[in-house]
Symmetry: C2
Subunit: 228 residues, 2 copies
DNA sequence: ACTATAATATGATAATTATCACTTTTTTTT
DNA sequence: AAAAAAAAGTGATAATTATCATATTATAGT
């Protein structure tokens, strides 16, 4: 069992503002877990009662819509925290989180970290800062969902995925996403997403290696995303 | 000039967690202002450097999209704080705020309230809680924008407006919104919004008094919003 | 390795929504 | 009060996207 004060993952999230003592305390009461691709970390309606620190892997955060589609609102990766809202508000989660790859996560119980939130202003300010940033991103996404066409959204999504997850060794965007996942991110029917991807491929803007996508012409994608 | 410790508006926002001393300090350095309907409170790209407390009136928070439409992401009213993000992160604002009615607001400079954020955990936790709630609402809105039809979104928006702003004396929803405003909230063309409103009126689900809208059949609206 | 299932892809068509053009009504300006 | 401008409303049509059906390919299970 690894120790929080020695884990490099904390450098990427608000836990870096906890001191050695605090980290040791948390290390003593956290639980580590391996999650298989496709399994839930938590589901909508659950009381999370703590926060998950992602040690490895990627997960999708989503909400089942009334029409039966599973809208993906975020993809989070190694180094990110998820579930922070449960620290603040003892409500059930409005979202679900599912492993998009095999994952290693640590769960820190709410009552253990809540004191740090109250006692350590650097920590609480960083949680606040991270949440403010999430809120800003969400607002921008609302505007895009409302005002951009599906094609624009796809282009933008591909660019964002590339920015966030980088390239794997074969040059493709370094995250495994089905066509259905992609359609659930941009908010369209699976067939529509497939068609648009196909068009982009035909136009030599992207190419496929299996299901993986490699961007060939980033500038063209940017133009499409911007509406030109 | 009114005093913060005596102002009833603070009961509706995080300022209620400041003690008397803190409130007196803030009272001494805040500035009050009247804003005419249609005028900006702040605009996208501005460094806000403080937080606005709404003493009276309603404002719309929006972002200009690349296609020239002004997507409204929130409507805020008396008692709410706006611009809190500038406390946390010294970036320019990604959104604009315009007065939807004549307003009275107080501006509290960032450096005056930042100490409270660091020193008063009850206050900072409430700011965090409010932001978490905003984030949750934004996430739900993303899902709706992605998955619901324009008609559903209109129905839901009318219900939400009624819930949030209540009824005026003549029974209509207590906020002045043009048809263009409504279209900018649900994310559609103005003509489309007008057509759908017209249909709802023909179906006796809503009625108009001038431009104001009165809900006649709330249950029908709920069914439409839910997709039935 | 084989089979079954799921995902991807494609064609056709239906539904939804946007755009364009114009008229009517309301609000603002003079 | 009259004129101008803006907003609301309507009709027609175009564009976008969803749905349905089917075929092909990839993946999972045995």
């Amino acid at each position: 069992m690894s120790k929080c004060d020695q884990c490099i993952v904390k450098q990427f999230n608000s836990l870096k503002f906890l001191n050695r003592e605090e980290l040791i305390r948390i290390s003593g009461c956290k639980t580590s877990k391996y999650i298989k691709k496709g399994e839930p970390i938590f589901e909508e309606g659950e009381r999370i009662n703590g926060v998950y620190c992602i040690k490895d892997g990627i997960c999708k955060v989503s909400k089942m819509s009334e029409n039966g589609k599973n809208q993906i609102v975020n993809l989070v990766q190694k180094g990110d925290l998820i579930g922070e809202r449960s620290l603040i508000s003892d409500e059930v989660s409005n979202l679900s989180a599912y492993a998009q790859s095999d994952m290693e996560i640590c769960f820190i119980p709410r009552e253990e970290i809540l004191k740090d939130l109250e006692k350590n202003p650097a920590f609480s300010l960083d949680v606040l800062k991270k949440m403010a940033n999430s809120l800003k991103n969400s607002e921008n996404l609302i505007v895009d969902m409302a005002q951009k066409s599906v094609k624009q959204r796809l282009a933008e999504t591909l660019l964002n995925l590339h920015e966030k997850f980088g390239k794997s060794e074969d040059g493709t965007i370094n995250i495994q996403l089905s066509r259905e996942d992609i359609s659930n991110i941009i908010g369209t029917a699976t067939e529509s997403a497939i068609r648009l991807l196909s068009t982009l491929k035909k136009d030599k803007i992207i190419t496929f290696k299996g299901k993986d996508i490699e961007i060939l012409d980033k500038k063209a994608l940017e133009r499409i995303a911007a509406g030109f």
